[in-house]
Every structure is written in C-alpha cells, then in structure tokens.
C-alpha cells in the first residue's frame, strides 16, 4: 500500500545528481581566490612535469663540456634580451658541471611533485589505517598506538628524518621513506580524532542497528566522512614534504647528484651564492613557488570545507 496522501507537495523540480558534499566542496573551492591561484600554479607545474622532455632544450644530466662553447657557471644568456646570437641560449645559465640550469629546473619539477605526492600518499594511507583502528577500537589498543605516535612526534621531525636516513642510508628513496614516516603521526592523530567524533554520531548507531558489521561501519560509513579534513591536511603537508625533501637533499642526504633535484642543486652550488647567484636563485624560486601553490590550495580547501562558510555560499 502507498501513503500518497501524506506526500509533501513538490515545489520545484530538482536534479539531485552532483549534490554530494564533496562536489559542493569542490564547487566552493573553485570560487576561492586563494585556491584558484594555487590551482593555476599547480596545474602549470603538473603540465611542466608531464611535458618536461618537450620543454627542456638540453639533457638535464649531461655536461656540455666539449659540446658547446660555454663556461662553467656562466650566467643566463637569453637571445631576446640581447645575448649575442652566436652564443648558445641558456635561459637560467649553466651550472658548475656545465649543465643547462633551465632543463634541470624543468626536470626537477617532476621529482619534487613525485616526492610530495608519494611521501604524503604513503603517510595518508598508513596514518589513516592506524588512526582509524585506534579511534574506533579505543581502549588499550588506542593507548598503545597513540603513545607510539607521540614518541615519533616528540622528535623534531627534521632530526628524526635525518636519523632515519642515517639508519637506512642516504639517497632519494630513503629520504622519501623518512619523510613519510615523519608524517604518519600527523595523519594518524587527525583520522583518530575524526573517527572519535564521527563514531558518536547518530547515523553510526543507525548503521549498527541495521546490522552493519564493525569493519563496514568503520571503513564504509565513518571514514568517508573524515575525507574532507584529510584532504586539507594532505594538501598542506605536501608543500611541507617538498620543502623537507629539498632540505634533506641540500644537506646531501636525499637526492644524490647528478639527479636534477632542486634541493640538491641548491646544496651543490651553495658556496657560489655571491659569484653565481643564479645557481641558487632559480632552484630556490622553484621550491618556493611549488610550496606556495600547495599552501594556497590547502588554505582554500580549509575555507571551502568550513561549515560556516558553506552556509553562506550554498547555491
């Protein structure tokens, strides 16, 4: 039997697709000035990374000694800006090993984005699992896990990363692991606190009363509700991770020469700051722009997910 008499009169014809909270959040995100700037820069960087072989005029790792008549650490030579056309063009100059700096910066984009996404990706997955179990199970399990996370957090993260590399050995891959490990507690704590608050909500009790198993409730019902905060934290953390990786590489612990990594480039030319400033200036700028893009985007996400703002900009 049907109960049509009780039907609420329909006032407007609505299409309900594309009205998920995530969709609405993204729509707000696209309206945020900060986020727009961040997304444009990031989009540009991603394109640069993808099309690096087409954009870079030289092999980033190959020395030009004996191939071109350029001096070591020669300054930028741009034909359009009056550099004699009989000299080869190097937009950002040439480094101490006579490699084209511009090509190296371009390829460096690939490495930095890879570092950012892979480290935080790993940290998010592991941290989420740990935090979710910890928050949902509670009791002594929660206590043990969280105290362990506290121990990790008690170290200054950069020192801990250095310590991990000391154990694992230097190199880009180990630096990635180190940065991931350092970031795990951040996500574990974040997810745990989300799970703790979400599991008290009524829809969780409703799910339980309908016969959902605990695993299902945790991973299918609760965790999707924690995704917004995760996205904010992950975006901001990617910027920080790129910075940390660059710093490790600067110290010679991360990416090893001749790999075109911005931090490594900075580190290997740090003594030439006064004589050849372009060799530290351009990698530094590249790092700054990348980190800035992620921070702007992260801030934009945070604002877009703020429920108070959500009310203001809805529809």
């Amino acid at each position: 039997m049907t109960v049509q008499d009780a039907a609420v009169p329909q006032t407007e014809v609505q299409d309900y697709r594309n009205n998920s909270l995530l969709f609405l959040t993204f729509r707000r995100l696209f309206r945020q000035r900060n986020a727009q700037v961040g997304m444009v820069i990031l989009g540009f960087l991603v394109l640069v990374a993808i099309f690096a072989p087409a954009l870079a005029p030289y092999d980033p790792d190959r020395s030009l000694i004996g191939i071109e008549p350029v001096e070591k650490r020669a300054g930028p030579c741009i034909h359009a800006l009056g550099c004699p056309s009989d000299q080869p063009q190097h937009i950002m100059g040439v480094d101490g090993n006579v490699r084209d700096q511009y090509s190296r910066i371009i390829y460096g984009t690939r490495i930095s984005l890879f570092i950012g996404f892979s480290t935080i990706g790993l940290a998010v997955v592991v941290g989420t699992l740990i935090g979710a179990v910890s928050g949902y199970v509670g009791g002594w399990v929660d206590n043990v896990i969280m105290r362990f996370m506290d121990v990790i957090l008690a170290f200054p993260s950069f020192l801990l990363a250095i310590a991990i590399i000391t154990v694992l050995g230097r190199g880009l891959q180990n630096a990635l692991y180190a940065i991931a490990v350092v970031n795990i507690p951040v996500f574990a704590r974040l997810v745990r606190s989300s799970v703790l608050s979400i599991k008290e909500l009524e829809f969780v009790a409703a799910s339980r009363s309908l016969g959902a198993s605990p695993l299902r409730i945790l991973f299918v019902r609760i965790l999707p509700n924690a995704i917004p905060t995760l996205i904010v934290q992950a975006t901001l953390s990617i910027g920080a991770a790129i910075l940390e990786a660059a710093a490790l590489s600067f110290l010679g612990l991360g990416a090893q020469p001749p790999l075109a990594e911005w931090g490594t480039m900075l580190g290997s030319e740090r003594n030439q700051v006064f004589t050849s400033p372009h060799l530290v200036f351009f990698p530094g700028i590249a790092i700054m722009i990348t980190v800035l893009a992620f921070n702007l985007l992260g801030d934009g996400f945070r604002d877009a997910m703020d429920p108070r703002l959500a009310q203001l900009t809805k529809r």
């Binding site: 039997m1 049907t2 109960v3 049509q4 008499d5 009780a6 039907a7 609420v8 009169p9 329909q10 609505q14 299409d15 309900y16 697709r17 009205n19 998920s20 909270l21 995530l22 909500l201 009524e202 829809f203 009790a205 409703a206 799910s207 339980r208 009363s209 309908l210 016969g211 959902a212 198993s213 299902r216 299918v220 019902r221 999707p224 509700n225 995704i227």
Partner: protein, 360 residues
C-alpha cells in the same frame, strides 16, 4: 486532513486488541543494564520485564533519563562501555539474544529487529545518497544484484510516501526535510521486513503536522506488514494515537503496565496519574497544569525503597512510611494491568490503603 486523522485515530483504538491472543514475539525478563561510571554504578535499567506480541504496538513512556532508550539499546545489544547488560534475558521468538555471539547478533539487527531514532537528519550518513544507504541494508543481509536493490529501494521510498522516489533516491540527506528523512529512516528500518521495530522517540524532533503524518505512516505500515513496534516516547499523545499496550517507566523500572485505554481511564500509579495530570485537555480551563515536583533521582547510589517516593504526593496524602524502606513489586491488579506501588501491595506490617487485602 482533520477528518482523516480522526478516522485513523479510531482505527488505532479498534486495533487496541490487535496484540491479544498471540504468542509473545519478544520477551524481556529481568533486564538489568548498568553503567560503570567514575562516580559509581548507574542503574539505568534495573530489572525490567515486559512482553511484546506479534503485530502489537507497545508503548514505553517515561521522562528523560528513566531508562527507556537504554532498554531499547539493550534489546539491540548496542549498549557501549561503560554500559553493560548485567542480567536478564531477551527472548526473540524464544531465542535468547543475550546468549548470541556478536556476529550472530549483527545478523539479527536490521533483519529481525531494527530501530529508528529521534534525530532523523543525523541518523542518515551525510556522504551517501539515500538510495545508496537503503541499498546497503539489502546488500548487508541479502545476496541481491545492484539493479534489484535499487528497484526495491525506490519501491520502499514510494511506500513511505517520498514524492518522486526515482529522482529523490539520488538526493543526499541534507537535501531532505526532517519529515522526509524520518520516512527514509523508516524505509531503511523496514527494508527487510523485520518482526520488530523499535522506534525511539520517532516524532520528537519533528514539528506537529509532520508528527501526525509520521504516526499515520507508522500505523499504516504496521497494519500492512504486521511488524510489532516498541514505541518509546515521553509524549502521551503519541501513545494514545498508536500504542496497544503501554508500560510506564520510572528511574529504570516499570511502574505501571496495561493496555492503553485502561491506562488513560484508570491510571493507578501516582506517577502515571501525575503524567496524565500534566497534559493539557482541550476545552478544559485550568489555571495551571499539574506538575510532578522534583526530578528523576540520580541513578547512582539509589536509596532503598520506592524510587518515586521523594516526589510522590500520594505517599504524603496517605502517610506511608514503608515507601522509603522497601521497594514494591510489580503486581497485577486486574487482568493485564500491573502496578508497582505500596498503595496497592500488602507487606508485613503494611496494609495497602487502596485495596483491601492487596497483593496477589
């Protein structure tokens, strides 16, 4: 609409005998659920017995904190620490739910017993469409294809009176009104045709007109599916509308139990009488509504004796002193009408003032 509600209401009363003559579907025996807090043991439910017959609407009434919600959560075995079911039996068709393993209990929930909650909007998961949430209920319990589940979900939405269910199925909870959300909750709860539905204050968070609609809907669905309902509420109006039998709870115990009409006609327990007196009656001019003075006592470190004694007007009127020493039993005054009060029960050295030779 008013005429319609009237017919419904008379139907509710004729179905007052609905539950009689059938075997009990649910039997709760001596249920005790305690909460072990830092301040001491809180006896939220302290020895509750009742039966619900198939197809019956059983009302559980009481003010906030009297243990009615904990009773329902105990039946579902959804009491979380520090709460614990310490004693009793909950028999669903003769099977003791408290003896079941957790995994078995998970299969009982949703399929045999389900529940709807007070806050319909927060009872739905905000990140999934309502169709996805109903489909999940099918998926948990049955091997069923996505298309079938989707079709059943839309059919259910139609049955609970959601307009344009095909499209509304793709809506997210924040796009529904409170009444619609409660309809969706009812649809989910009844998806697998459970034998028992526990409705924990299903209309409290809704405004008055929507309340009436939801009550009508529950009445209709009950008549159509023969699902028994435990209706938990503090609203005696809702009880009058829907329930066949009623138990009044006070401070973790049932103090009076009878069929609805008898309870409203001849409430025996002073607490029930107080509740009745606090309802405004249309057409009856009163300066003030009666109130029951005081609050529900703290359920930690209860004093011996009747739990209502400190607020009881009848105790003072009759000058009973036993009330503060010994707790009365739930005795049957007449067929199907039980009460827990010293006004009616005999005890060594105590003669009940209202019933000569009381007791059994």
């Amino acid at each position: 609409m008013t005429a319609k509600t009237k017919t419904k209401r008379s139907k509710a009363q004729t179905s007052g005998s609905h539950g009689k003559g059938k075997a009990p579907l649910l039997e709760v025996q001596n249920l005790k659920t305690y909460f072990y807090t830092d301040d001491g043991v809180l006896t939220a439910v302290d020895g509750v017995d009742f039966q619900v017959a198939e197809g019956e609407v059983f009302g559980l009434v009481g003010e906030s904190g009297c243990g009615k919600s904990v009773t329902s959560l105990s039946i579902m075995r959804l009491v979380d620490p520090p709460g614990e079911i310490v004693d009793g039996r909950i028999l669903l068709q003769g099977e003791d739910l408290l003896a079941k393993k957790l995994a078995e209990m998970t299969r009982v929930r949703g399929r045999q017993i389900s529940m709807i909650f007070q806050q319909p909007k927060s009872s739905l998961n905000p990140v999934f469409t309502i169709a996805e949430q109903i489909i999940e209920v099918f998926k948990i319990h049955e091997n069923i294809s996505d298309e079938e589940a989707k079709a059943s979900a839309i059919e259910l939405l139609r049955r609970v009176g959601i307009p344009d269910p095909e499209r509304k199925a793709n809506a997210y909870p924040h796009e529904l009104s409170g009444g619609q959300a409660q309809r969706v909750m009812i649809a989910m709860a009844l998806a697998l045709r459970p034998k028992l539905l526990i409705a924990d204050e299903p209309t409290t968070a809704l405004d008055a007109t929507i309340q009436a609609q939801i009550l009508d809907l529950m009445q209709d669905l009950r008549d159509a599916t023969d699902t028994a309902v435990i209706l938990i509420t503090h609203d005696l109006g809702v009880i009058a509308e829907l329930a066949d039998r009623v138990a009044v709870m006070y401070a973790g115990k049932i103090v009076e139990e009878s069929d609805t009409i008898t309870l409203f006609d001849r409430p025996l327990h002073p607490y029930t009488q107080g509740l009745m007196g606090s309802i405004p009656v249309l057409g009856e001019a009163k300066e003030r509504l009666e109130v029951i003075p005081g609050n529900v006592p703290s359920l930690i470190n209860l004093k011996p004796g009747c739990r209502f004694a400190s607020r009881c007007a009848a105790r003072q009127e009759y000058g009973l002193e036993i009330c503060e020493r010994v707790e009365p039993d739930l005795i049957e005054m007449e067929a199907g009408h039980k009460v827990r009060c010293w006004l009616y029960q005999e005890y060594e050295g105590h003669t009940p003032p209202l019933r000569k030779g009381g007791g059994r």
